[in-house]
């Protein structure tokens, strides 16, 4: 596996497509247990990301990921903005000096990103936040020598679906306590789109 600048752009474009297509779905998930802006926030942010990275030429992966981070930070807002922003900022730092990432470098970058999310948001696994998707994905990378795209997609999908039956302890949904059970966590769904897209980008990169 090898992801260079083109492959990362492909990853982000796929993510953007899924987010734009599911903007209303994400918003309706957030209306059920949050404040109904997650789709709007992610759609605005990723649209800007694509605008930025497709109009800039990059020599380094770190620069690309830093632009993604800064765009998300300054355009998404809410809780998800600083979290996704921090995640990409950590990834950018993690890949500094590299022209492309192999499996190990990607694993390190994702782990750094997860740690950034945990530090920034102070959520724990099981709090019904996007941490519940990022954690098993990072685990999956750690436990497998080779990343099979379908498995990555499956792991992130299962993780996303698992947020339905738990009670929220962080984010707005936490105010609902028991009433948050039975609803998917919107941020976990957007994170699922991110990893499902990563799986596709990995697969296409190998073809």
């Amino acid at each position: 596996m090898k992801l260079g600048i083109q492959e990362v752009i492909n990853w982000l474009e796929k993510t953007n497509e899924k987010i734009q297509k599911n903007k209303e779905y994400l918003t309706s998930l957030d209306q059920a247990i949050g404040d109904g802006d997650h789709g709007i926030n992610m759609s605005r942010g990723f649209q800007e990301v694509i605008g930025k990275i497709t109009s800039t030429s990059y020599n380094s992966l770190a620069d690309l990921l830093k632009d993604v981070a800064m765009t998300l930070l300054s355009k998404v807002g809410g809780a998800s903005g600083p979290l996704y922003g921090t995640a990409f900022l950590k990834m950018s730092m993690s890949v500094k000096g590299k022209e492309a990432v192999d499996k190990q470098a990607l694993e390190n970058a994702l782990e750094d990103a997860l740690n950034g999310i945990l530090q920034r948001g102070k959520a724990q696994l099981g709090d019904k936040t996007l941490v519940d998707v990022w954690t098993p994905v990072v685990e999956f990378f750690k436990n497998h020598k080779v990343i099979e795209s379908p498995s990555l997609e499956e792991v992130s999908r299962n993780a996303m679906e698992s947020t339905k039956e738990v009670m929220a302890k962080k984010g707005r949904a936490a105010y609902l306590k028991e009433r948050s059970i039975g609803h998917l966590d919107p941020g976990s769904v957007s994170s699922y789109y991110l990893f499902a897209s990563l799986a596709e980008a990995i697969k296409e990169g190998e073809e």
Partner: protein, 331 residues
């Protein structure tokens, strides 16, 4: 969705234009931002006060920018905390050398975005302190979760911390008094109808004709309980009692009362609620020093109200009474 707007994605930008043109002598907008600051900012030697959050809570927070209250308000997208770069611009715009104080409502997004901005400003050598407002007793105050939300009680923090800063208080003085307000202010709200975020185009939740939502937030988040709608007296009693259960006020204590409308509740109804809140407090021997009835912290066109009690001492009373030139809070 029926709204008097142009492009639903540009409501904040359009609002800011109308806001600045309404008060050209009091406000200016930091160019290319959604930050509203006092025309005379930065005030040299004065602690600069910055608040903000998602838009849709008008007059919060730009309406509280003015002499004696805030120096800047950062206006995020509707119900979405503003981004760190915007908050950072606000901090820079109001830094008069005595440090900048951030008043943050306790939402994960606000806390993270404001803290990232504070880190950026501190890296520039600006002293930044903050308070996190969490007055909503609907939500359990637990350290395992996000904790309580910040709602209408925030206005009292703006007012009192603003007066302290205006009187020449240091950054630490402002922080101390703001924390005192936060420790002594409690609120609780209820809604009769949801609101619609312009870019979402449909209501945030649905309520049957005979239902109300108790303990909901100010962002269209569902509340803690949904039940059959009752009378104004019962609603006032429930909200006030929930606050009193948490506050331990005793006979002879003095409070400020705020009955806040969430957007589409007629003032008539707010006064009806206030009448009952008054009765309840009087019955308990609690003295009402000052009452505020009106729309202070709204949730677009949500119907409903919140009640806020602030326990006062002489210091808080003096600061509450100090001059304010903010359009939405004239004293």
């Amino acid at each position: 969705m029926k709204k008097i707007i142009n492009d639903p994605n540009l409501v904040v930008q359009d609002m800011l234009k109308g806001l600045v043109s309404a008060y050209p002598n009091s406000f200016k907008q930091v160019p290319n931002t959604t930050v509203i600051v006092r025309k005379d900012a930065p005030a040299t030697g004065k602690v600069g006060l910055v608040s903000g959050g998602g838009s849709g809570h008008e007059p919060a927070h730009a309406g509280y920018v003015g002499k004696g209250m805030l120096d800047a308000a950062v206006c995020g997208e509707v119900f979405t905390s503003p981004t760190p770069d915007q908050v950072y611009e606000a901090i820079k715009a109001v830094d008069g050398g005595a440090g900048v104080f951030l008043i943050i409502k306790n939402y994960t997004g606000d806390v993270m975005n404001f803290e990232m901005a504070a880190e950026l400003a501190q890296a520039d050598g600006i002293e930044v302190e903050q308070v996190i407002v969490n007055d909503d007793v609907a939500v359990e105050d637990s350290s395992f979760t996000t904790g309580r939300r910040g709602i209408a009680g925030t206005i009292f923090v703006h007012k009192i911390a603003g007066a302290k800063a205006e009187a020449g208080g240091s950054l630490q003085d402002v922080k101390t008094i703001a924390e005192k307000v936060v420790a002594n202010v409690r609120s609780m709200g209820m809604a009769l109808s949801p609101c619609t975020v312009p870019a979402a185009g449909k209501p945030s939740f649905e309520l049957a004709d005979n239902e109300m939502e108790v303990g909901m937030g100010i962002h269209g988040e569902p509340g803690t309980e949904r039940k059959a709608i009752t009378t104004a007296d019962e609603i006032a009693t429930e909200l006030t009692q929930k606050i009193l259960d948490d506050m331990h006020l005793s006979n002879g204590d003095e409070v400020a009362v705020m009955v806040n409308g969430l957007g589409s509740t007629p003032e008539m109804e707010l006064y009806i609620v206030n009448g009952k809140v008054n009765d309840i407090l009087k019955e308990k021997g609690i003295n009402i020093y000052k009452t505020f009835v009106g729309e202070y912290m709204t949730s677009l066109e949500m119907a409903g109200c919140s009640v806020t009690l602030l326990k006062l001492d002489d210091e808080l009373k003096e600061l509450l009474n100090a001059e304010s030139q903010a359009p939405a809070f004239r004293n």
